[in-house]
Amino acid sequence: MQTSCLRTDASADRPARSWRRRILHAGGIVALAGAAIGLAACGGSSSSNGGSGGGASSGGGSSASGAKGVGAGATPKCGKLTVWTDPTRDPAVKDYAKTHPCVHLDVNVFGYAAGEFQTKIGLFNREGSGWPDIAWDPATTDAGWLDSARYHYAAPLNGIVPESTLKQWAHNSLSVCTFGGKVYCLRNDIAANVIWYNAPLMKKFGYQVPTTWAQYEALGKKVAAQHPGYVIGTIGDGYAEDVYFWGAGCPSNELVGTNKVKIDTTDPHCVQAANMLDPLVKDGSVSTLAVSSADFAKKYGDNNHMLMEIGPTWYGLFEFKPSFKAPNGTWGVAMPPTWPNFKDTGDVGGGIWSVSSHASPATQRLAASMAEWVDTNPMYQATAPTYPANVNAAKVWLKTVNASHFYANNPASVFSKSAGIIWPGSSELLFSTDNVWADTVVPGLVKGKSPSSLLGAWGTALKNQATAFGYQVTH
C-alpha cells in the first residue's frame, strides 16, 4: 500500500521501496521532458505567497479563471465533481460516493509521481481548462505552490468552510495551508516527529529513552563507545531538516510575509542542532545514510542495529515494518526530545485536499464539503493509514491505532500529544527545502564534513533557491 503521507517531491521520494513508482516516474518524466521545451502556454497571476514569475496569460490569473468570489449560500447537496486522488485515498472517495448518491463524481486516481500533480496543473493553466474541482495532494510541501500566483489553483476556504469547523483541526496543522491569513487547503493527516526506540535493544543495553536533546547527544556518545555499529538517528536525507532543525526551531524556511521568507541557518537554533549532531555523526551513532536507502537497510535495518530513530508517526508501520521486517513489539514511541529554549517538534509529510479556484462558487462549496467529509468521517479515518489532522477523526483513529499490535507501547498518547506541538515556523514554499538539504548537505556529509561546517552552504543554497523562485529573503 502506498503511504500517502509521504512527500512525493523528488527529494523526499523513497528509494528503497519504490522502484516500481520510480519507473513510472521515469516514463512520465521522459514524456514531460519533451513537453518542457514546447508545450503549454501561460499561467496565473495574483497571489498570496508566490513569487513573481511565470505565467499568466490564458489560464489562471484572469478574472474569469481566477479565484471566484464565493458568494453566500448553502452548500449544494447534489452536483458534479471532478476529483483527483491517489490509490490510498480512493477508498475514502468511494465511501463519499456511496453516502452521497446525489453527487456525481468523476474520479481520476493516479500515483502522484514526483512533480506530476504540479506539472498537470501547470499545463492546465496554459490550456485554460481541465482543472479538477477537488484534488488530493500527498505532499504538504505542495501547499506552497497550490495557492501561489504562479499556479493559482487552490481557492481560499474561509467563508466556504465555517471557522468553527476549521478550528477542529489539530493545533498548527493548518499552518501549512495558511498564507496571508487565508486557509487554502484542508489537511488530511499529520505526522509529528516522535522518538522511535527499539524496546528490546534499549532494555538489553540498559539505556533510558531521552527526553531532551542533551540526553540524546549523551546517549549517542554512549552507544558509540559501548555498542559501536548501532545508530540512534540519521541525517542522510531531506527529513533531517524536518527532524533535527525544525525540531530545534531553526528558521530555514519561515514565511514572514507575503513572498518574504526568513532563512538564517546561522541562527542559534540551527547552530545548537548542528553542534549536537557533530559528535554523533563523527562517532557514527547518527548515520549519514538515508533511512530508506538500501545501504541503510543492509547496514542497520536488516541486522537490528537501529537502536533509535527520530521521525514521523508513520515511520513504524510504513518504514520499519515493511523495510526492515520489524517484528511486533520491537518499536516503542516516546515524546520527541526538547531543547531548553524550544519545546516544539517538526513534522514529516501529511496530505492535503484543495478546492479549485477555477470552479463555480457552488462547486467550490460542494467540493469543500467533500474534503471536510473525507477528512472527518470516521468510516474511513478510523482505519486510515496515518494520523488524522482533524481532532475528532483523530480521537476515533487513536482508539484503533494499537490494534495492529505493532508497537511496543500504546502510541496513542504520544501521537496525540506530539500532534499538538508541531512547530508552525516551517512554512511550505514554492520549492522543497528538504531537497536543498539532500543535494547540498548530504554530499558534504558523504565527504566527511560535519553538519555545523555545512550550515553556511546550506543557507546559501536555500537563499539562492528562494531568490530564484522570486522570494525576498530576510534574516
Partner: protein, 307 residues
C-alpha cells in the same frame, strides 16, 4: 568522350526526364511523409513554439527581447548546469569516439563468424534504453545490492551516495550512455568500414601497411564523415541529458541537484516555477549550442561536400 555523351543527353533527354521527374518526386515524398509529419508535429512546431515563447514576456505577454535569456543566464543554477553537461560531453564524446572506432575496427578485422557474434553482443545493451537502463545502473552502482559491489568497494565506494557524488557523475553518465548507445554506433561504423573498397585495402596492404597503419591512415580517413555524424548526434543527445540525473537523484533521495543539467533546469522552470518562457529560453540555448557544434563539425569535415 565525356563531351560526346553529354551532348545527346542535354539535347534529347529533357522530354523524357520531365515525364519521369514528377513520379520520382512523388515516390520520394511518399517515402518520407510519415517521418516528415512526425518531424513537423514533434520537432519543428514545438521548436517554433519555444522560439515564440522565449521572446515573450512571462507576465502579461508581449515581446520580451532577450530578457528571458538574460534572466535565465543570471540564474545561479545556469552556469553550473552547463558546466556539468560540458564536462560530461567532453568525457563521453572522447571516450565513445575512441572506443567505438577501436571496437568497430576490431570487428571489421575479425573473421566473418566472430564479427557477427561480436556485433550482436555489442548491440545487445542497446535493447535496454532510457529509464529501464538507468534502473539497471542504479542497481549496479549501489554497493548494497550491486553484483559488482566488490569493484565499488575496491574503489573506496561503500555507499550509493558515495558512488554518485557530484564529481563522479560525468563518468557515471558516460558509462550509461556508452552502454546503451555505443553498440548501435559500432554497427554503423562497421557498415561504413564495409563500404571501403576491398581493392583499396588490398592495395594498401601490398604497399606495406600493417593493420595499425591501415586503420589509421586508410580506414579512418575514409569513414571520417560517419564519425562526424556520430559526434553531431551525440552532442545533441548528450547536451539534453535529463532522465539519468533525474532518476538517479530520485533513487538517492535527491542528493543530486534537480537542475544538474540545463534540460532539468528548463524542466524546473516550466513545471516548478511555471515559467515556460524561461524554460523555452534555456531550451533555445541548448539548441544554439548543438547547432554551433554541428556547424563547426560540418565545416571541419566538409560533410555536405560531394566526394
Amino acid at each position: 568522350m565525356t563531351v560526346a555523351t553529354q551532348v545527346p543527353i542535354d539535347v534529347e533527354v529533357p522530354a523524357r526526364a520531365a515525364r519521369r521527374r514528377p513520379r520520382r518526386s512523388f515516390k520520394g515524398y511518399a517515402f518520407v511523409s510519415g517521418y516528415l509529419a512526425v518531424l513537423i508535429a514533434l520537432g519543428i512546431l514545438p521548436t517554433a513554439y519555444a522560439l515564440v515563447l522565449a521572446f515573450e514576456k512571462s507576465q502579461g505577454g508581449g515581446f520580451a527581447g532577450f530578457s528571458n535569456f538574460i534572466a535565465t543566464a543570471k540564474d545561479y543554477r545556469f552556469l553550473p548546469a552547463f558546466a556539468n553537461v560540458g564536462v560530461y560531453l567532453v568525457i563521453w564524446l572522447v571516450s565513445m569516439t575512441v572506443l567505438v572506432l577501436i571496437l568497430a575496427l576490431l570487428v571489421h578485422n575479425a573473421s566473418r563468424r566472430q564479427s557477427a557474434v561480436f556485433r550482436f553482443i555489442y548491440y545487445l545493451p542497446g535493447a535496454l534504453v532510457g529509464a529501464a537502463s538507468v534502473i539497471v545502473w542504479l542497481f549496479i552502482f549501489d554497493p548494497a545490492v550491486s553484483p559488482f559491489a566488490f569493484v565499488l568497494r575496491w574503489l573506496g565506494l561503500h555507499s550509493f551516495d558515495q558512488t554518485i557524488q557530484g564529481s563522479h557523475l560525468p563518468i557515471i553518465f558516460t558509462l550509461m550512455a556508452f552502454w546503451t548507445g555505443a553498440g548501435g554506433w559500432i554497427l554503423v561504423m562497421y557498415g561504413a568500414l564495409n563500404n571501403i573498397s576491398v581493392d583499396l585495402i588490398e592495395a594498401a596492404r601490398l604497399d606495406g601497411c600493417n593493420p595499425l597503419q591501415l586503420a589509421i591512415r586508410v580506414k579512418l580517413p575514409l569513414i571520417a564523415k560517419w564519425v562526424a555524424y556520430m559526434v553531431i548526434l551525440s552532442i545533441a543527445a548528450g547536451s539534453q541529458i535529463f532522465v539519468e540525473p533525474t532518476l538517479i537523484s530520485s533513487a538517492a533521495g535527491g542528493v543530486i541537484s534537480p537542475s544538474w543539467s540545463p534540460n532539468q533546469l528548463a524542466y524546473n522552470y516550466a513545471f516548478q516555477q511555471a515559467d515556460f518562457n524561461g524554460a523555452s529560453a534555456i531550451a533555445l540555448d541548448l539548441l544554439v549550442f548543438a547547432l554551433l557544434c554541428a556547424a563547426i563539425i560540418v565545416r571541419r569535415f566538409k560533410l555536405f561536400e560531394a566526394r
